[in-house]
């Protein structure tokens, strides 16, 4: 489906999904990595802001938070349905339960990766 190297970026304790998993990278190394990749896929976290700061558009998967408030129009912002957005967008997100069905299906993400 994707015949290019994939690097997972995250922190210690996260589930490893691909062969190369870079954990706990400092900001400066993350910036370098962003510059060398063709594209990136992430959720609404600091990473989408860091990549935006580096001028590298990517794909952001949205669930309960609103891309019109927290996203950047330079990215491909994949929101399944605005009905999944939580009413209060300004709460602590740690208090929001993860619900997989709020996010778009993988084949939609793949379609956009291949287009990028």
């Amino acid at each position: 489906m994707i015949d290019e190297p994939i690097i997972q970026v995250g922190v210690e304790g996260e589930e490893q999904l691909v062969e190369e998993f870079k954990k706990n990278l400092p900001i400066s190394e993350l910036r370098q990595l962003i510059q060398t990749c063709r594209t990136w896929v992430g959720v609404d976290s600091f990473f989408q802001h860091l990549a935006w700061d580096e001028g590298k558009p990517g794909i952001v998967l949205w669930g309960p938070s609103d891309p019109l408030i927290f996203g950047h129009p330079e990215n491909i912002n994949l929101l399944k349905d605005r009905s999944h957005l939580v009413e209060n967008q300004f709460i602590w997100w740690e208090a929001t339960e993860h619900q997989r069905e709020r996010f778009v299906e993988p084949h939609i993400i793949l379609k956009h990766i291949n287009k990028e």
Partner: protein, 324 residues
């Protein structure tokens, strides 16, 4: 038409000056759109059983002034005023529980407040007989606060733009926060608040013909605390705030991503004094230092602000609204 909330904070004056204040509010020639009495008494009572209050409540109903009696949290007057500030009204007329306004006061204050869009607060004379100094030469500037009487202590004969007010005044709601880091005596709370409005570019006016009689009562009062260290704590916050008055104070008590977004706004902020969680993204002093200097940093909480504003636009534009 602008909606005006009248807010009265009271403690220990159920049977002294509070009835006079309520009577004066009921008899204003311009009615407030709502009256809220914040009861901060150590032992709050149900005043409906007291005949004089039953009459007041009946008069409010007859005159069509919605009213509410709220039991406050004993955290100090500034918490009460902040609650009123955020109740969704355009203006709040704050009246102390020992300050009796003449019948025309709200009418005159609203005349000045509604006259231009950039008026932040309007106050009239607050007279405490027999001490009524001549304040015609008073500048009302914050730099002179320790060297001249407050302009409101004397009979104001001509409208004057000042930098701060005290005691009772009418202010534009929801545009500036009270500093909740002050102690429960809330020393300087109204000075800090009105000066904050001034710093945000709003006019602060001392105006004639809007006289309130301050029946200073040594018993009761929202500030019946006597601990000197509480006053010293608040005075320190006041002085620290003034020492930063030529700067734009930025407190980034928020996430890493928020700091990155903010870094795009920072170059547009004149003379920013930054306090930060992530100095590797945005350089500045620590958040602990901000708390030490200003007591409370919630007034710079961008998420709280966006919630208050009912924000639908981008985070970057929220930072711009907050700091530019």
């Amino acid at each position: 038409m602008h909606k005006v909330l009248c807010s009265v904070a009271t403690r220990g004056r159920y049977f002294t000056t509070l009835p006079l204040v309520l009577n004066a509010i009921i008899n204003q020639t311009r009615q407030p759109d709502k009256l809220v009495i914040f009861d901060d008494n150590d032992e709050p009572q149900d005043m409906r059983k007291e005949m004089i209050y039953a009459y007041f409540f009946q008069m409010l109903d007859i005159k069509g002034i919605p009213w509410e009696w709220v039991f406050a949290g004993k955290k100090g007057q500034h918490h009460i005023h902040q609650q009123a500030n955020m109740m969704g009204y355009d203006f709040v007329w704050r009246v102390d529980d020992d300050a009796i306004p003449e019948p025309n006061v709200l009418d005159d204050l609203t005349y000045w407040a509604f006259f231009e869009d950039d008026v932040g607060a309007v106050g009239g004379s607050i007279l405490t007989p027999p001490y009524m100094p001549d304040t015609s030469k008073v500048t009302g500037k914050i730099d002179n606060i320790d060297n001249e009487p407050n302009i409101q202590w004397g009979v104001i004969k001509k409208a004057k733009e000042v930098e701060h007010l005290h005691c009772s005044f009418l202010y534009r709601a929801g545009v500036h926060d009270y500093n909740l880091g002050l102690s429960r005596v809330a020393h300087r709370e109204e000075t800090l608040f009105t000066y904050g409005l001034h710093q945000k570019g709003y006019k602060i006016l001392a105006v004639p013909y809007a006289t309130t009689w301050h029946m200073k009562n040594p018993n009761g009062g929202i500030r019946m605390e006597t601990k000197q260290e509480l006053y010293e704590h608040d005075e320190k916050i006041f002085k620290n705030t003034l020492s930063c008055r030529d700067k734009t104070i930025v407190v980034l008590n928020c996430g890493l991503g928020d700091h990155i977004v903010f870094s795009h706004v920072l170059p547009s902020i004149p003379n920013a004094e930054v306090f930060t969680c992530y100095p590797e993204i945005v350089q500045g002093q620590s958040i602990a230092k901000a708390i030490e200097l200003f007591g409370d940093i919630d007034q710079w909480n961008i998420y709280k602000k966006m919630d208050q504003w009912g924000w639908k636009d981008s985070l970057e534009n929220a930072f711009r609204k907050m700091y530019l």
